[in-house]
């Protein structure tokens, strides 16, 4: 930054020399400090069996090595963090969250998830409403969440474009994962029917499906026009007329082209079948979100390789479509060969307790191995990020958490959360601890930035 202010040649030269020296020095120290070694913990790489006394090596925001203590060479000068008797696993991926878009505390104007002005809203982007200062984001890191799929709500048949983010940074641009465009939120069943009370469509599940088919047909036609135009231009046709651009249809075309996954809020077995029917008809990729009755149609999901991002709440009901909630459902899906992720649907459940979601599925009969995958690699795959996050393997992002004990014990706490080699949550820091337990002032948007006013 300082270089820009330098004007005179001689001073420039002099400063350049100083600067080069400084860069050389800092490069040297950062090379020494850049490698972080977490040593002694029980490490769950997820891609392989747990390592009782493991070492995790991290440099430049990436995982360098994972293995047994003694077999992994820790470079000289590396920062060593002792984690004996602790547990290390990949950062948790929440495939269904509303943090930042339904802010804490919930008040009349703090909710931006549901654009209730019409049921088809593909042009909306969650990223335009996410508040990076929402305390819920800090609370999610206190629960071990490092990556989230932040979505519009389920009040619309097509609710808008979702955002795949890392939970760091002061702007949405810093949060968004480079190279991702997010998914498309859809919903069927009870929620979009709220329009019926205003004498507007949809009033029935029939109309919800009809509206969905309508937008896909429209997008298919739009795509055909553009394809024809592009083909003509490529063939050298200078008279070809360019179709008008439609901001609503572009993202739907991305769904049809397989670039954007549909995250479909759907609970009841027949609603899940409607979601499958639509994805069969228009050949798009689908993640069943919630999937309360998904185990009833497990074979249909398995046949199509459609995964379920499951939400567990503590008791059934609260709405008709969740009346058959059953802790045994994830286990039944596992048995049928369906991949299951666990989400918070925050604020429906708290991101601080996302591990509890998977633990309750273990209570319901799921294997610990699949439950751990359901917090890490499976949701990562559902966001097309399986090659980047979700396991502790060399080359992947250094997103990991340190736990005080076995992952699925109620008495275990998340001690540290790291994103790309940077610590974003530390339970030993009283400021951070508040986000783990809650308490007075946690709802402050900028608690760490005193401005010194008054």
């Amino acid at each position: 930054m300082r270089v820009r202010t330098v004007r005179s040649g001689r001073t420039t030269l002099c400063l350049w020399a100083l600067l080069c020296a400084a860069i050389a020095f800092s490069a040297q120290t950062s090379a020494a400090q850049a490698t972080l070694a977490i040593r002694g913990a029980k490490v769950y790489p997820i891609s392989g069996p747990p390592i009782e006394h493991g070492v995790l090596l991290v440099a430049n925001g990436k995982i360098v090595a994972v293995g047994e203590e003694g077999k992994i060479k820790i470079p000289r000068g590396a920062t060593i963090e002792d984690a004996v008797a602790k547990v290390v696993m990949p950062g948790i991926v929440d495939s269904h969250s509303h943090i930042g878009i339904i802010a804490n505390p919930m008040a009349e104007d703090s909710g931006d998830a549901n654009e209730g002005s019409g049921p088809i809203q593909p042009g909306l982007r969650a990223l335009d409403a996410i508040d990076p200062a929402d305390p819920n984001i800090r609370m999610a890191t206190a629960g071990g969440v490092t990556t989230a799929n932040i979505m519009p709500g389920s009040g619309n048949v097509m609710g808008g474009q979702t955002a795949y983010v890392k939970l760091r940074g002061n702007t949405i641009e810093q949060m968004l994962i480079p190279g991702t465009i997010g998914g498309m939120k859809m919903a069927n069943g009870e929620n979009p029917k709220h329009y019926g009370a205003k004498d507007k469509a949809p009033m029935t599940r029939m109309e919800e499906a009809a509206l969905a088919r309508g937008i896909y047909e429209k997008a298919a036609q739009y795509k055909a026009k553009w394809d024809a135009y592009n083909k003509a231009v490529t063939a050298g046709d200078k008279t070809a007329k360019q179709p008008d651009r439609d901001l609503d249809l572009d993202p739907v075309v991305e769904v049809l082209e397989g670039k954007r996954v549909v995250h479909n809020h759907t609970h009841r077995a027949d609603d899940i079948m409607t979601a499958l029917r639509l994805s069969d008809e228009f050949h798009y990729r689908l993640v069943v979100q919630h999937g309360t009755e998904s185990c009833e149609v497990a074979s249909e999901l398995a046949k199509r390789h459609v995964p379920v991002s499951f939400t567990i709440v503590d008791s059934p009901g609260g709405k008709l479509e969740t009346i058959n909630l059953d802790l045994g459902c994830p286990a039944a899906l596992e048995k049928a060969g369906v991949k299951v992720a666990f989400n918070t649907d925050d604020p429906i459940t708290s991101s601080r307790l996302i591990i509890r979601q998977a633990a309750l599925a273990v209570r319901g009969g799921m294997s610990e191995e699949s439950a751990l995958k359901g917090l890490t690699i499976y949701p990562a795959e559902m966001l097309d990020l399986g090659d980047r996050i979700g396991t502790l393997d060399p080359g992947k992002d250094a997103d990991f958490i340190v736990l005080s004990g076995p992952p699925f014990s109620v008495y275990t706490h998340v001690l540290e959360t790291w994103i790309e080699g940077q610590k974003v949550f530390d339970r030993s820091n009283p400021q951070d601890l508040r986000y783990a337990t809650g308490g007075f002032g946690v709802g402050d948007r900028f608690p760490a930035s005193p401005r010194g006013g008054n």
């Binding site: 505390p105 008791s315 109620v410 337990t437 809650g438 002032g441």
Partner: protein, 420 residues
């Protein structure tokens, strides 16, 4: 699964509809009686005719003949949810099954949860399956003077479809008063009173003051010869409040924000009520004031959502902080108006246990301490001879996410047993 060996016999017998009351011998690797003595060692609980017959602690206990043997890793008294809407607020959350808030008048002292209680409500079954055997079911949070709570079992021995009378431990257990956002949101929006916290307090004070005046009027009439032509006209709301101002029926003040809790204490003290605090979300901020008032606290679910400004400061550590401050505490689940439709006491106590309260104290909080706060400790809350045989059996630490409730007994009979 090892703990389940004793179950084969039980399943055969319990399936018989013409069931004669059985006697049970509950063998525990870790027995938490919550009566006097150290907790958590091995032991045996004998159950006869619906009551605890005897408790024997120590290893190598031999169940006597004539008892059906149940084995479990952990055994505790049945859990007590000290303030919930289960039974009057149904799982479907549609108008047909929502009977918790008579939001047509800010003073509904004359209503009783007893008269809305649906013994066949599936949420009661769900609670029972998680070890909850007793609930205090209270009117919802909307009216400043909301009406009377009752205390009920979540199942009745020997009856698949009991009446509310069969379930009742106390048909009328407390009068509920609500402070904070709920009353003003309910009525203020309709341009009715209360629209502010000031008015909510005034409505409550008015009702209590009127009840005193009503009592004096009747006393005077009786003293002056009980002339029927001069008899004061009856007022069901004021009559319902008489035992409250007389200190015979406890008052429950539901308050979340610290200043609302303080308002509850102010009113409770002004009218010399026998009262307790409920929800108490920000209680940890004013432990001194609560301890000075000397009142017990029914603490709201620690996993409650930050769904309003008054619950924005909720902390998992509230039970631990209040307990450390020497305040008598119990836990409650209150009202949920979306998913989940009811919080589960067992889960809430687990989060409290893991956030400073500790396992044994958490068990005590939802059993013996809860019974004491509700003055039903002569019947429930501990496993001691003569108490109701309400027992929860677990295959591990009750609060562990991955443990299971193996069986639940209410009044000495099995109300739930795990099928797998």
């Amino acid at each position: 699964m090892r703990a389940l060996r004793g179950f084969t016999l039980l399943i055969c017998v319990a399936a018989s509809p013409a069931l004669v009351a059985q006697n049970f011998a509950v063998l525990a690797e870790h027995l938490y009686t919550m009566a006097d003595g150290t907790q958590g060692g091995p032991g045996l609980v004998l159950i006869r005719d619906g009551k605890i017959e005897a408790v024997r602690t120590g290893p190598h206990q031999q169940p006597p003949d004539g008892y059906t043997v149940l084995k479990a890793t952990f055994v505790t008294p049945g859990l007590i949810d000290t303030d919930t809407t289960a039974g009057i607020s149904g799982a479907y959350n549609v108008r047909a099954d929502q009977d918790q808030d008579e939001a047509t008048d800010p003073n509904t002292a004359d209503v009783r949860s007893l008269d809305s209680f649906n013994p066949n409500e599936r949420l009661l079954q769900v609670l029972n399956q998680y070890g909850v055997t007793t609930v205090q079911t209270a009117p919802g949070p909307r009216n400043p003077v909301a009406g009377r709570a009752g205390i009920f079992k979540t199942a009745a021995p020997g009856s698949a479809s009991p009446t509310v009378e069969q379930l009742a431990v106390r048909q009328e257990s407390a009068m509920v008063f609500n402070l904070g956002d709920n009353p003003k949101d309910t009525y203020g929006k309709k341009d009715k009173a209360p629209a502010t916290r000031m008015k909510t307090a005034e409505i409550i004070r008015h009702a209590l003051s009127d009840a005193k005046a009503y009592e004096e009027k009747w006393d005077k009439w009786k003293k002056e010869g009980s002339d029927i032509s001069k008899q004061p006209s009856r007022d069901m709301k004021l009559e319902a409040l008489l035992p409250v101002v007389d200190g015979k029926l406890p008052a429950i003040f539901n308050a979340y924000r610290a200043d609302d809790i303080d308002t509850a204490i102010r009113i409770g003290n002004e009218f010399h009520l026998h009262y307790m605090l409920a929800s108490v979300t920000e209680g940890y901020l004013i432990t001194d004031a609560i301890r000075r008032a000397g009142v017990p606290c029914l603490l709201g679910p620690v996993m409650q959502r930050f769904q309003s400004l008054e619950t924005a400061n909720a902390t998992f550590e509230n039970p631990a902080i209040l307990k450390r401050a020497g305040i008598p505490i119990a836990l409650m689940t209150g009202l949920e108006d979306y998913v989940p439709k009811n919080r589960i006491l067992l889960f809430e106590a687990g989060i409290a246990a893991a956030n400073g309260l500790g396992m044994e104290q958490a068990v005590r909080t939802v059993t013996a301490d809860a019974a004491k706060v509700l003055s039903i400790d002569d019947r429930v809350g501990s496993l001691a001879p003569g108490k109701d045989a309400d027992v929860a059996l677990f295959d591990g630490d009750p609060f562990e996410y991955t443990s299971h409730v193996l069986a639940v007994l209410v009044g000495g009979q099995v109300s739930y047993q795990r099928s797998k």
